[in-house]
Amino acid sequence: MCDTCGCDHDHEIKDSKTIDVNQSLLKSNDEAAASNRKHFNEKGIYVVNLISSPGSGKTTLLEKTIEALKDSISIGVLEGDIETELDAERIRAKGVPAVQLTTGGACHLESALIHKGFHKLEHQLDGKKLDILFIENVGNLVCPSFFDLGEHIRVVLISVPEGHDKPIKYPKAIKTSQVMLITKTDLVEHFDFDIEKTKKDALALNPSIKILVTSAKTGEGLDKWFELLNDALTGK
C-alpha cells in the first residue's frame, strides 16, 4: 500500500533535481594533501616526492643522498611499492628511519596513505625532529603525477636506458614536477640517449623545471643535487 493515499500501488512521485557540483574528481586526495602539507610545515619538514619508472634509480639516489647528508641533516624515508619491504630495508641499512608503504596493487601513493605512514615513521624517530622527508613513489610514470601527496617538490627521474623519448611520452610527469634528474649518465655511451634533446623537450613542456644530469655510479652531478636540497632546507 502506498503511504500517500492509501491505494495499493506505488505512485511515481519522486522529484528529480540537478545538483551543481563543480569540484575536482581528485578532491578527496587534494584535501588530504593540503592537510599533510600543513602538518609538514608546522613541523618544519621539507618533503620530496620522487617519481619515475621502475628501476630508474630512486632508491640508489636515496642511498647516495643519505651517505652524503646524514651527518648534517636528519632524514626520514617513506618507501612506496606494490609489494615487499625490500627498499625500506635498503634505507634502514644506511641508518635512517624508513617505513614501507605497500599499496597492494595500486600503482601510486595517495595522501591518506602518506598520513598513516608518516605517523608510523614518527614512532621510529623517538621524538627526534626530521629536516627532510623523502617519499619514494611506486615505480610508474603515469599515475603518481595525478596525486599530490603534500610534498614541497616533486622530482622526476628519467634514466638513460629508458630512452630520451620519455618526457614527451609522459608529459604530465614532467609538467607536474619541479625538478628532473637524468640518471645513469655513466651508461650514455651504450645507449642512444640524447641528453640535450631530453632537456629541450622537458623545458618545452615545463619551462620552469630544473634539470640535473646525474650518475649515482660515478657521482656526476650529485653535488648539484645535494646543493639543491641544502638550498631548499636553508630557504634559499
Binding site: 519522486k14 528529480s16 545538483i19 557540483v21 563543480n22 581528485l26 600503482c107
Partner: protein, 116 residues
Amino acid sequence: MHEVSIALGMVDELTRIASENNATKITLVKLKIGKLSGIVVDSLIFAFDAIKLEHPIMTSAEIIINEIPLIYECNDCNTKFETEDIYFPECTGCKSYNLTIVSGEEQHIENVEVEV
C-alpha cells in the same frame, strides 16, 4: 590505472553529495574531462560501472562526459586557438610556443542528477 582510484574517490564524493541533498538515488553524473587531463575516459567509466554495483544509491547511475577541447591563448599575438597537439602546440597565428592554456586540463564533476 589511476582511473580506478579516481573512480573510488568519485564514488565517495557522490555518496556524500547524495546524503547532503537527501537524495534516494543518483541517476546521472556529468563529468568535465579535458583532453590534457590524462584521464582515460573509457577506463574511468569501466571502473565506475564496476564499483557502483556495491553502492545501492548509484547502481543505475549513468555517466555523461563533457570532453573539453584543448585551447591555448598566445602570449605574443593573443590568438586563441584549439589544437589536437598535446605535446608541443604552436600558435596558429605567429608560430610562437609562448602560450597560456585556456582549457583542456579539466577533471571535474560538473553536476549530479538525483531523485529526492
